[in-house]
Symmetry: D2
């Protein structure tokens, strides 16, 4: 059977990324020694030489399908990319693996356990004969309470759900096994006016209401506190943070964004 | 050219709805004497006799395309459905037209004008030799403030953006020209703890913060107040209401729903 | 601490559904003797008497949270609803549990195994002192190839991905343990022009291309074949089917819908 | 009334972007001498000095609200950004304006006119005392037909809807008035196996079916042809292209991406 993908191409254009997107797969994510089953959505691509017409995409889905029911840790993502480099005989591979990750939280007064979910993305890029460049993205929900509204009002203050997205790029690929999703999510949660919980009893609700009122923060405050928190994470080479407050007094959002390359003189912000 | 759609079918199944979905079109909505251009997404279907294999869908998109740049009032929806009955020689036609509708609002203290958007749906159904059955659905955003949180906390109270969806089904098709989208949206907005505005100055923000604090409402309170408000709308035969609070202390929502058939003894709720 | 929810209400409106929506939870779905971990999104509500102001929503999230890491079969949904009736002292409870469910499929020629996902919803409603009314909704993807396009064209025929949603309502609650999600998904897949697979080698691609060309179907054909297939499922009291073709020659979809109450004289279609 | 936003900040973090997101507004887009009403969703931000605690976001929504019912051409976006720099006394402003833009197309045989929609984004960035950096993003739908499937199959070939997103960044801000959205969309449409149309009669359907069969293209072919087409657009400084085929034989997509900085020696691809 003819291999149409292998036909020569004359357009002289090397493609950086060709592959599959929105590929869904059940995976077992390994984080901090614990295994969590997730429903993943995956984009998986390789570079395509200017010499050939097409990529052999079924090899990519084959590599992914073999991962079903085997634990997947972050360092293991590099092996997936190496497998793609070899099986597709190419010089660059990239993967994004998106899933909801559940963390365990305890309500502040009654001590009830519940499991909020965090949107999580593993993003790996690998150039041939190099090591993987890995980024972890988390989108962490919490409460924000407006300092202006509190200050100018005789009572009350508008507050709302917020979402803070952090994209962390790591330096040393040999230390990726030290990343703890749950712990990083906890760092970010603490940058809002208060944490959110799926399960709160009345004594907890009193606590979180008063805590948020005592801890008013603009979206800019949250962003800056997240910058300070993220800078303390080990082994980072760069990070980006976006924060969005789903304003209760508007039908639009308040938004703030920041990016930083670490250990360089010309940090872009 | 052979008409495959017209081939006889032996499966003896009459289809209630066959047609097009997610068809997008620029329309000019006529409401209360004013014309508003909108970007509409449309589902448009007709029944298909058990005798034939398929519907002639291009006639449906043709009917819709002819409506571009002509004002579309609610009563005019019946004409679209009648055109479908005739051009497709069938006995039932249905249409759903979804769009964002902008209303004009004035901030409570500074008097600044801005334009919040309301998700709006026109839904019409027409049986041959009958009149159109028409429903209007609006999804109206506002603020809600939790009465429990206010009561049990020494200061503050959690609040959030809420969305109230009302589906109103009307009785007399000859009175559909009296429906005013903007006015109905206003009725629903008033059922929350406070209205939302795209544009607020500080004096307005103080006002809306304090108003919401003075007007705490559970999602159930909002729903019940919306039921009372909707019952006063003229010419209704039935309605459904759903209200969702995007809880600031959780990452899930509080939800309440209610349905009522009017002018009957066995009102379903 | 005062129980604001328990305050008397004077509006005389009984609410059919009050509770939580978009509550996400990791669950272990039990189907046909096998356990599958899923990421669920849940709406869980109870009726609220006209006498009281609000529902105690944290009891609902508590009931759900206790289900983490325990297998959940369809009959078990009735126990969740009964727990809600008791813990909230009310007369009606409803739940919708949505998740992606992976099925195992083997490519037609090379025999490679892969795991397409099906959107799945468990929907249960329980009136006090009654048995649960249960519906299963599946949204199954496959290929459709247009009979008209094939017939009128000298070569080729437009085809596309399609999605068929079936909502099945069951009669006897004691037979719910016999439902097999995977098997029902298979029935529906066979109603298109061809099945889809996440993993296909060239010999498989030839097979599925030719099979679809030999099996052209309008969205109306697919719907009718799905009606015939669904009618054979045991223990049904009613069903609804919607089918949507993501037309490759348009940027809108072709759509068809059908509903049937079984074992009645006036089947609505 | 105290200006909390103006409070000094000690965290020494300059924020690149603070403002509003998902702000919806009815706008009148001016393209190639014609005015088109659209429903826009807008992100509008400014930089915030490390000296101050917060941005005055209501000034941003005020600037936007004043644009209602006035024609908005691409060069006019620079005026909006300049207004933000002045009214917020800052050194950087950015805006993204997203809307569905309808183009006029004529079916290939019957000559019927219809209006497919293109997702469109205006993206402007302005540093103080500089000129605007402007990018136009279009997401253009069309048909793709698989060359491999055609070649290896005795008859037929799988085909599907595709979407090609191009982000074009322009060089000379004085030539932005020459951009024609409709024309660029047309360039991209021609890179697929065939165009799509909202309205096709049978003779048109035969034409587009046969044309696609005669013009098979991988997602990589489409991407490369789009690269060649885009390189001919005047006044570009850089571009990115992403193409996605909604595979009819899979429930995932085929994907390819390319980026290029023009007029440099080390074009990144």
């Amino acid at each position: 059977m003819i291999d149409v993908q292998n036909q020569p191409d004359t357009r002289k254009i090397k493609i950086r990324q060709a592959g599959v997107s929105r590929f869904r797969l059940p995976l077992l994510i390994s984080d901090d020694g614990k295994i969590q089953p997730v429903t993943a959505e995956i984009n998986f691509t390789v570079s395509l030489s200017e010499k050939f017409r097409g990529t052999h995409m079924s090899r990519l889905t084959e590599i992914l399908t073999e991962r079903v029911s085997k634990p997947l840790s972050i360092p293991e993502v590099e092996n997936i990319l190496n497998e793609a480099l070899q099986k597709l005989d190419t010089d660059f591979a990239a993967i994004k693996i998106d899933f909801k990750f559940f963390v365990k939280r305890t309500s502040p007064v009654s001590g009830l356990v519940s499991y909020p979910d965090i949107d999580c993305e593993f993003s790996g890029e690998l150039h041939k004969e190099n090591r993987m460049n890995f980024s972890l993205t988390l989108k962490v929900p919490f409460t924000s309470l407006c300092p202006c509204s509190k200050e100018i009002s005789d009572f009350g203050a508008h507050n709302q759900r917020s979402l803070c997205g952090v994209k962390l790029t790591f330096k040393d690929p040999d230390k990726l096994n030290k990343i703890k999703i749950d712990e990083i999510a906890g760092l970010i949660e603490n940058c809002g006016s208060g944490q959110i919980y799926p399960l709160l009893k009345r004594e907890d609700e009193k606590f979180v209401t008063e805590k948020a009122y005592n801890n008013p923060k603009f979206v800019e405050d949250i962003l800056r506190d997240a910058v300070l928190a993220v800078r303390k994470i080990e082994n980072l080479s760069a990070f980006e943070i976006e924060c969005e407050n789903f304003e209760s007094i508007h039908n639009h959002n308040a938004f703030a964004a920041y990016g930083e390359k670490l250990f360089t003189d010309d940090a872009e912000n």
